[in-house]
Amino acid sequence: MQEIGKKKPLKLMWRMICYCPFLYFADCLVWILIFTSPLIPGLLAKKFFDILSENAVVDTNLWSILAMIAVVAISRAVLIYMGARIDIFFRFKQSSLIRRNLLEILMKRPGANPSKTSTGEILNSFRDDASQIEDAVDWIMDLLGNLIFAICAIAILMGIDAKITLLVFTPLALVIVIANKANGRVEKYRRDSRKATGAVNGIIGEIFSTVQAVKVSGAEEHIIKHFQSLNQKRHKLMLRDTLFTQMLESIYENTISLGTGLILLLVAQSMKNGSFSVGDFAVFVYYLGFVADFTQFFGKYIAHYQQTCISFQRIADLMEDTPIEEIVQHNPLYLKGQLPVIERIQLSEDDKFRELELKGLSYRYPATGGGISDISFNLKRGSFTVICGKIGSGKTTLIRAILGLLPVGSGEILWNGKRISDPSNHFVYPKSAYVAQVPRLMSETVRDNILLGIYEDDMDLNKAIYLAVMEKDIETLENGLETLVGSRGVKLSGGQIQRVAAARMFIRNSELMVLDDISSALDVNTESTLWNRIFELKEKTCLVVSNRKIALQYADHIIVMKDGSIEAQGTLAELLESCKEIQSIYV
């Protein structure tokens, strides 16, 4: 786990700004103008009251002030429109960059799902943490604009009466100190309430992923009760969070009224003798409001920054070992122009599969302690190897460890005699292809689900469908290959989903094919057809998890798993004689 701390986010945000520096500069420029423009109405108000109190009846002056107020407002409106266009673009680029990089990092990380985080919580990071960071970067220019306004305003007021300015604005500075002291608690309360929100979001996601189970077991009532208890917890924590924030905010707000009261107290004497005009009073109060807004915004920004640190921390937790800097790496977003062409990966002669060797491969699940230990075997080009074993013996774990779908434990994996340090990036198309036990389909057409970005004319789609015994199914589907399937296979049965995934594997024509219990949802006929079609393939290397006779009979080499280790390996004939375990499987 990497600790983000308080300073690193600043560096990261700076990197984000550097992603589009000119856009940011333009954005800053316009917004600083917008934020400082209220200086003028303040001066106009002063002028207005000065004219009145001087009793110098110059009508035209009075009316020209009104005209100037109108001009200032209209130019401010124009600036805001310009600023909006630039700012929206800038913001979109910022959060999209975070989302893009997070997606890439999560996709490239070994292991299927992060072990402790639900999809709902990951989505929270994509949605909320990215916008949180977007705001944090963007508000820097609000902060800057407000600061420049405050400096100018204080300079003007000092020119009117330095003593009163100091006496009124010093308490404001004190407020910032108070707010800073309270920040530790703001952060803690925020963290707690965010956690409670994450829990609520997580359970919603899970409930809808498992909605069928919930419905058929009539568990609605209990689930809603569970949801209720999470809701109540969130209610309590959020209330504490907002109440505390509101109290801080109240302190800020009070500074305006207190400041005005203070001015009244201080000028009682000078106003009476006329050295402090009503116009002076007007501009003091007018600017006081804005400067107080700045201190309040400053405090808010500090609180927001604390939250942003939490957001970065949560993202860092998702990224696990990947350094956090990669989340702000400058990568193209392709908002305009040509999208990048997906190039077909060419296999180098060196990578062409000759042999796979495992030496003492081990992996333990941190949660349960189960797993595999000391697995060693060899796999040659063109061979058909079957891993069999009882339920929970570690067959799937073994496959996942080889393919790098689990973090690397101990032991070595050798490809053509060369040690592979990062199996998760090695065992991919076109070196290997894999059909999981419970494959997932996307909400796309059947064709897109099979191709997943591979060009159709590159490979033979029909052959892949034939190998996967999908051809009849495609015919019966309403729109054939163009039929839209859901995330969990809207109109497809479990067996069909598995065969779509198999077709996805076959079309990739990879060197090594790995199948994890492909037959688990198939009926007898379909299953034997599928096996026979695989057997017909020449020059293909297969690593298969199966306890099925047909597969075991065809195998060149069988690995029998028991309690996470290899019980025995060899040909079927050898094993049937020597190994009790396979005798009980092969019945």
Partner: protein
């Protein structure tokens, strides 16, 4: 699409009713803060006029002190009202979340197939959260602000009717313009949220399929689609964002107009000698005070846009009605039940029949084995029997009662359905097994776990039943997950069990292990087993062979076995061939 006030009010009425007392306290607090805000400018006017008169400083200092005192009290009132409104806001929106969750669960499976969990998450929490600010702050502040405006206008009328008239004209024109701008913005917000829901749906799907994507080398494809989403998203976001700023721009213009009116009328009346300079300042101060509610109304209108779009979509969700209607007849059965299916016909989509004219009958306690190719309609038949879908035609009777007339709750209680895809929660083992039913004792759970032969698995759990399982099933083998699904059934003691390919992923050893347990369970139930493997249906009394959604064969297992021409005996031979080949 304009969000009608009526919809807001309906939602409000329903979810705020339980908090009447708190709302009254809130109203009192708000009135207090308005009155306090109205007093302060009067003090300032007094101050300026007294100073101009050159009176003693004593009056001026006590006026300044009064000003400070009133400001302090006002802040206390604000904190108190924040507490009350937030409290009510959370209580009411949590109730809404719960209702919405319950409602969405009750919707048809076809709804769930077409709405990704990530998307529903956005609806249930994202939309409701934007409604939260509507409940907790927006509405109260809106009322507060309008009351403040009304108070200011009244006081200005008391000063001079021309001032009152001028500034109320300004308020009316201002709010009208803003009211016109608002619906345009609501519309673009709605499409913006829709887009973001789709986007996060896509992300969620990719995240949960990383395994498939990685091994297929389809990473670039995912990124490609991500970029495509960005391209579609940006113009929508630009539009809705610009609309939000448009409201702000309008307010700046409107407010400058207000300033001009105040200065204009104030200056004019002063020139005529009708008012003092203190009163001119009072007008200016009150106009500035109008600034705040109008400035806030800007924010609130922006939030109203969001809340408006959310109300529309929450209403859309609530308007969806499940086609599965609640029945009235309770299923009161102590033992096994009879099953009767008559001329059952079903299509997911119009004119694409999945099941055609199925009629079978099963006496209580009998076991039916269902065989057929993938896609022959076996799973669909199971789904109809547990009423996840409604038959297009034909009837199903359980225990002699029409399925659609049976209370859903009692149906779920007595009918268990074990699917091939075991769905797990990110929760403890206990919660996963009881599905959050806290009424089931640990002893019962442990016994059920032992019944399916998972004793050693249980012993190896670091925290026993409190061990967390993650929903991806990491650390659980598929077979173990399957066995856990059996435990869920064991905890319920149903009268009718449907096993859909339940044993498909179990190896022969484990199959044998639980067979005893299943025998025990089936002793007192009727059962339908959908299986691909012959061995699984060995215990069946009847066999149903499905082909393209039609009954290809139905009959007594022994009789079918002895009939050499029956499809079942052919299948049996193929199975035997499988053994011999």
């Amino acid at each position: 699409m304009k969000v009608s006030i009526k919809e807001y009010i309906l939602l409000l009425k329903k979810y705020l009713r339980p908090y009447k007392k708190k709302l009254i306290i809130l109203a009192a607090l708000m009135t207090g803060s308005i009155v306090l805000q109205l007093i302060n400018p009067q003090i300032v006017r007094f101050f300026i006029d007294e100073a101009a008169k050159g009176d003693s400083a004593k009056h001026l200092i006590s006026a300044a002190l009064a000003f400070i005192g009133i400001s302090l009290i006002k802040q206390l009132v604000v904190v108190a009202s924040t507490y009350v409104s937030q409290d009510v806001g959370w209580s009411s929106t949590n109730a809404l979340r719960e209702d919405l969750l319950e409602h969405c669960i009750s919707l048809d499976m076809s709804f769930h197939k077409s709405h990704l969990p990530g998307e529903l998450q956005e609806r249930l929490d994202g939309d409701v959260s934007s409604l939260f600010s509507f409940f907790s702050r927006l509405l109260f502040n809106l009322i507060n602000n309008f009351a403040l405006i009304l108070g200011i206008i009244t006081l200005l009328f008391i000063e001079d009717w021309r001032v009152g008239l001028g500034l109320s004209m300004f308020c009316i024109i201002g709010t009208t313009i803003l009211y016109k701008v608002q619906p345009i913005a609501v519309k673009s917000w709605s499409s913006s949220r829709e887009m973001s829901a789709n986007f996060f749906g896509f992300i969620g799907e990719q995240i949960s399929s990383t395994e498939d994507i990685r091994s297929s080398g389809a990473f670039h494809n995912t990124m490609h689609r991500f970029y495509e989403f960005l391209r579609r998203w940006y113009p929508i976001r630009r539009k809705s964002g610009t609309m939000g700023y448009l409201v702000w721009i309008t307010i700046i213009i409107v407010f400058a107009f207000g300033n001009i009116v105040a200065f204009g009328i104030g200056g004019y009346l002063w020139l005529k000698g009708a008012i003092t300079i203190g009163t001119v300042y009072l007008i200016f101060y009150y106009t500035e005070l109008l600034n705040r509610p109008i400035e806030q109304i800007r924010h609130q209108l922006q939030e109203l846009q969001v809340a408006g779009a959310s109300v529309t979509r929450i209403k859309e969700l609530f308007d969806m009605k499940p086609t599965i209607k609640e029945g009235e007849v309770p299923l009161k059965c102590m033992g096994p039940v009879s099953i009767k299916i008559e001329n059952l016909h079903f299509e997911y989509e119009i004119n694409v029949p999945v099941l055609k004219d199925i009629s079978i009958e099963l006496e209580p306690g009998k076991i039916l084995g269902v065989l057929g190719r993938t896609g022959s309609g076996k799973t669909t038949l199971a789904r109809l029997l547990v009423r996840l879908f409604e038959p297009t035609n034909g009837e199903i009777y359980i225990d002699g009662k029409l399925l659609s007339s049976i209370q859903l709750k009692s149906l779920r209680e007595h009918v268990a359905y074990v699917t091939q895809d075991v769905q797990l929660f990110n929760a403890t083992v206990r919660e996963n097994l009881t599905l959050f039913n806290h009424n089931i004792g640990d002893e019962v759970i442990i016994n059920a776990i032992k019944d399916v032969g998972l004793d050693t698995w249980l012993d190896n759990l670091p925290d026993g039943l409190d061990t967390m399982i993650d929903c991806s099933g990491g650390g659980l083998s598929a077979g173990e997950a399957q066995l856990l699904a059996f435990v869920r059934v064991f905890l319920r003691n149903p009268a009718f069990i449907i096993l859909d390919e339940a044993s498909s992923r179990l190896d022969p050893i484990t199959e044998k292990l639980i067979e005893k347990a299943i025998d025990k369970l089936l002793k007192n139930t009727t059962c339908m087993i959908i299986a691909h493997r012959i061995s699984t249906v060995e215990r069946a009394d009847y066999i149903l062979v499905l082909e393209d959604g039609c009954v290809a064969e139905f009959g007594n297992r022994i009789e079918l076995m002895s009939d050499k021409n029956s499809k079942f005996s052919k299948l049996l031979r193929m199975g035997i061939e499988e053994v011999l080949a």
